[in-house]
């Protein structure tokens, strides 16, 4: 399906059916992702309610400024992604490529900040459970629990972003080769849905992890 003609896969009757089917498929996939993250969020929320003071202490150890900046980065990347979808719908190849590249670049900025500036820093500070955890302040064991969740939740989120970057690379190459047109832009649309979902997960993660305990 990587040529410029609008091809309808043989199991479908027409392009409209194919388009509807792949959209429904992507929404269902996002539903599974909601349940996957939902499990994590539920577990975190339960512990946050039981160990409120400890979790607030731990949350203050995170760099909320970096987190906020990253939030802005992701929101911008959702904007560029939406613009990429629009460009694809209008058949504007150069614009599509530009916006895809912008989205990918912003995603890489996020990943850099997350892994290098935050995770690496936390590891050096002795806040990495299981690897290097030396925090000895109040509620130490519950703070370690918080950081378990921090690394797992942001890690799973980052994994989804990396997969997204990979798929966008493929779409970028396809766009370069002229695979998309006004008649055929569905894969970009689906990518947009996925990327917005990854963004929304972060928008929940940020306050839950970084903003506990009235710090401002």
């Amino acid at each position: 399906m990587s040529n410029s003609h609008a091809v309808v896969a043989e199991q479908f009757d027409d392009r409209a059916q194919q388009h509807e089917a792949s959209s429904l498929g992507m929404w269902i996939f996002l539903a599974t992702e909601i349940m996957f993250f939902g499990g994590l969020f539920t577990a975190y929320t339960v512990y946050r309610n039981i160990h409120t003071a400890a979790f607030e202490t731990a949350s203050h150890l995170l760099n909320a400024k970096l987190g906020a900046f990253n939030t802005a980065v992701l929101i911008c990347s959702s904007l560029t992604m939406a613009l990429a979808v629009q460009a694809a719908q209008m058949g504007k190849r150069k614009r599509l490529i530009t916006y895809l590249l912008s989205t990918m670049a912003l995603g890489l900025v996020f990943i850099y900040i997350k892994f290098i500036l935050e995770w690496h820093h936390d590891f050096l500070e002795g806040l990495a459970p299981g690897l290097h955890f030396t925090y000895a302040g109040p509620h130490a064991s519950r703070v370690e629990l918080f950081f378990c969740f921090y690394f797992i939740m942001t890690g799973v989120h980052a994994l989804h972003m990396i997969v997204g970057e990979g798929v966008m690379t493929v779409l970028l190459v396809m766009a370069w080769r002229g695979a998309f047109s006004q008649e055929r832009y569905n894969p970009i649309e689906m990518m947009g849905l996925y990327w917005h979902f990854v963004d929304i997960v972060w928008i929940f993660l940020f306050p839950l992890l970084y903003l506990l305990g009235a710090r401002f």
Binding site: H51, A53, A54
Partner: protein
Amino acid sequence: MPHAFPLFPVQASSAAPGVDQLFYFLIAVSVFFSALIFLLIFYFAIKYRRRSKDEAPPKNQVTNSIQLEVLWTVIPMVLVAVMYFWGADIFVRDARPPRNATEVFVVGKQWMWQIEHTNGKREINALHIPVDQPIKLTMTSQDVIHDFSVPAFRMKNDVLPDRYTTEWFKATRTGKFHLFCDQYCGMGHSLMRGWVYVMKPEDYERWLRSDVTGITMADQGETLYHNLGCITCHGTGKGPAFAGLYGKPVKLSDGQTVVANDAYLRESILYPTAQIVNGYSPIMPTFKGQVSEDQVLQLIAYIKSLGSTESNTGAP
């Protein structure tokens, strides 16, 4: 020597007859409906069997009936409602032990049961209790999840690490009854068994006083209280005093009020910074790793011996 083939364990507790009665009701309903379905299937399958290979499908087929649907929805609903309320009633009523229950403490570990009576007497994989006296077990595990199950009493409850769970029963006949671990706990799970010995009160008293040093759990707790240095704060006002503490509502520094029950005291010893009493500083060190589970129970027994407040001393 084969005699009567048992279908039910002996009824050895005050709860057992009630549970069995409900069980009989459930059996009756199940037998009725199973028989009904089996018989209908047999009857229809034979009466309406196809008589020739080319027999035509029946005409004028009845394929729905709102009345029937309502009937066989409502009747099951009523029956299950009865089951629910009956079962829930017994369960809730028996959830809390009576006030006069004798306390026994259980520590489960892979793969044995360590049991300690308040007078200091210990036993392994065995529980001696007097007949016709409610017994409340306070249980914890040193490792994985176990379960203290006595089928003759129709009673079991999981035993968890790092917290206390309770179960209670009142034995109604003397004898020897199986004790099983009933939550899979690894290699020795099926070997983690023993016996509950229900004795006449006089025999039980005699047993309780035999081979015992006279040092009760509370005595052992008092020794620990001195040896571990608890007295240096809790005996001088730097930490909350223990007299009358057990069962009393305690105001915490974050504004909450909790009851000083077993779980609270255990947490205070092992995780002292989790909940700070209002007006005190968080300076208590943790004793995790320095005291075993049964030593924690001894400390709690000591605190209890300094006077308890009549109130809710433990959640179900």
